[in-house]
Amino acid sequence: MGRVGTVVAVAGALGVAAARAARTAVGRQRARLTSVPGPTEARRTGHPRRWQVVTVDRPPEQVLPSAVWPEPLRRLGDAVEVEVARAPGGRGTELAARVRPHADWPGLSAHLLGDDPSLLVRRTLWQVKQLAETGEVLRADRMPDERGPVVPDVRPSSDGPQR
């Protein structure tokens, strides 16, 4: 992540606030992303506050249009801090996020966190990446637990799917 042309943001806020934060934090050191939290912090928070990072194969201005966080990140509200930087070698954008210490997780997020909030952060980053690269978040087919039990059946083929 080169420093020249790097856009670095530390924000958990929405819209204008995020844009302001992005502008004011330009030039923040890349070293921040590689720092490993010490045992004291991990003990205090229950989790090492490691940065979760994905590389998005699009330039920062596409990942962060108008410096507004994409929808999946906005859902995390103030609970995370985020950094954005141009990736080396023309590989797009490095998008990093980590949990803020003592973050209050909003609504459903808090319910979904389980034992490790970094998993939700990582999943969210992957969703942002998918949105930027493909225009959609890929959805799974209905899983067996959504569909109910299989009904044994040997009826002849139907003419088309029943809808």
Partner: protein, 384 residues
């Protein structure tokens, strides 16, 4: 609709499940014409790959007719006969844009689970556990196909269903083995495994200009098929010193290129004791290939079911300056070319479909494929 499902007892049953639906804008729904069994499924059924849930629909190698298209689909219309790449890739990420769709970043609906398994997310696949994609399989009347503009390809009219179905997985996998190992004109190539993928890797080696192609297996009927349909020489592992014979075939040098295409060993279970002690399988074919390959040669590993293995001769790789590579098929890149070759009769695959079953007898087809009492190479299901 009807579909072949895995049940909680590890058995297979054909049952009624809800029809697939468009879940993303780039999806199409395909009415399945042919869906083939694959050796990769056997390791699933043998319990070597965790994560199958009762009710999961199996199958990933298929073709069919498009019956419904999502609003962002540009290349397909209702009524198109398409072969669908068994792996799911977006066509838009860094890896896809560099011709490595099996490494796609966006092909799985659960990249976190994928990372846990392989270190990074890779392309998804139909008919696998959720962690490997989240897409129902093709042993069904209908299938939803994500990223359809990227992974579904119109089949030339002159190419029949029994030929085209293998363009979904076996043919691009075999092609990758030969191309990825960089087969060059004049090369001596050895392929381990005379199943569908092995035979098609051997055929790909011919098409890339190999001077001599040798297929190694322990099933005489498969070796006979490889001789008859692919025109290769064969070595029966049961009564041969494979390395010595390969040296004979190659002027004492060893093959320039070795391709491992043995697939998952049918029915081999890791026992509870194996799991407790961490004992892993020995990759016999890969090990044999590494010993046999000439110095400075190339070994390509296609067996995705290999998982974790041990007792690998790393020192041989170093001392002989070998290049060892592996990969899952890059069908999104290769299928159009393979269909063209099929249309020109350069690539014939019908003989691989040794047995046909209607979908309601699919469980029987798998038993035959697994136990091979009737020399079944591939069972192919016709849902309609």
């Amino acid at each position: 609709m009807r579909a072949l499902c895995w049940t909680s007892g590890g058995e297979l049953t054909v049952g009624q499940v809800p029809d697939p639906e468009l879940r993303n804008d780039h999806d199409v729904i395909v009415r399945v014409r042919r869906s083939a069994t694959c050796g990769a499924d056997l390791s699933l059924l043998a319990g070597q790959t965790p994560g199958l849930a009762a009710g999961d629909v199996l199958g990933h190698e298929f073709l069919g007719d498009v019956i419904e298209v999502g609003p962002q689909v540009r290349r397909h219309r209702v009524g198109d006969r398409v072969v669908v790449c068994a792996s799911v890739a977006c066509g838009a990420c860094w890896y896809c844009r560099r011709g490595l769709p099996s490494c796609c970043d966006n092909g799985s609906t659960d990249p976190i689970a994928n990372e846990a398994q392989w270190g990074h997310p890779v392309a998804g696949c139909f008919g696998q556990p959720r962690a490997a994609g989240g897409f129902a399989g093709s042993h069904a009347e209908y299938v939803r196909v994500p990223y359809a503009d990227v992974g579904a390809f119109p089949v030339p009219e002159s190419v029949g269903d029994d030929r085209a179905v293998f363009a979904s997985d076996a043919a691009p996998t075999g092609w990758l083995g030969a191309e990825g190992a960089e087969v060059r004109p004049g090369d001596v190539v050895a392929v381990w495994g005379a199943g569908a993928v092995g035979q098609l890797a051997a055929r790909a080696a011919w098409l890339l200009g190999a001077e001599r192609v040798i297929v190694v297996d322990r099933h005489p009927a498969r070796l006979l098929m490889a001789r008859q349909h692919i025109g290769v020489e064969t070595i029966d592992q049961r009564d041969s010193d494979v390395s010595a014979q390969l040296r004979e075939f190659s002027g004492g040098r060893g093959p320039d290129v070795c391709v491992e295409a043995v697939g998952g060993p049918a029915g081999e279970h890791r026992t509870l004791a194996d799991r407790f002690t961490g004992r892993t399988r020995v990759p016999e074919a890969v090990r044999e290939a590494v010993y046999a390959c000439r110095k400075g040669g190339s070994v390509f590993v296609l067996n995705g079911a290999a998982g974790h293995v041990d007792a690998f001769p790393v020192g041989t790789v170093v001392h002989k300056a070998l290049t060892v590579r592996g990969g899952r098929q890059h069908g999104q890149r290769h299928i159009p070319m393979l269909l063209d070759r099929m249309a020109r009769d350069e690539l014939r695959t019908e003989h691989l479909a040794t047995h046909h079953f209607p979908l309601e007898r699919a469980a029987e087809g798998y038993a035959l494929f697994r136990d091979r009492p009737d020399e079944c190479l591939r069972a192919v299901f016709t849902p309609h």
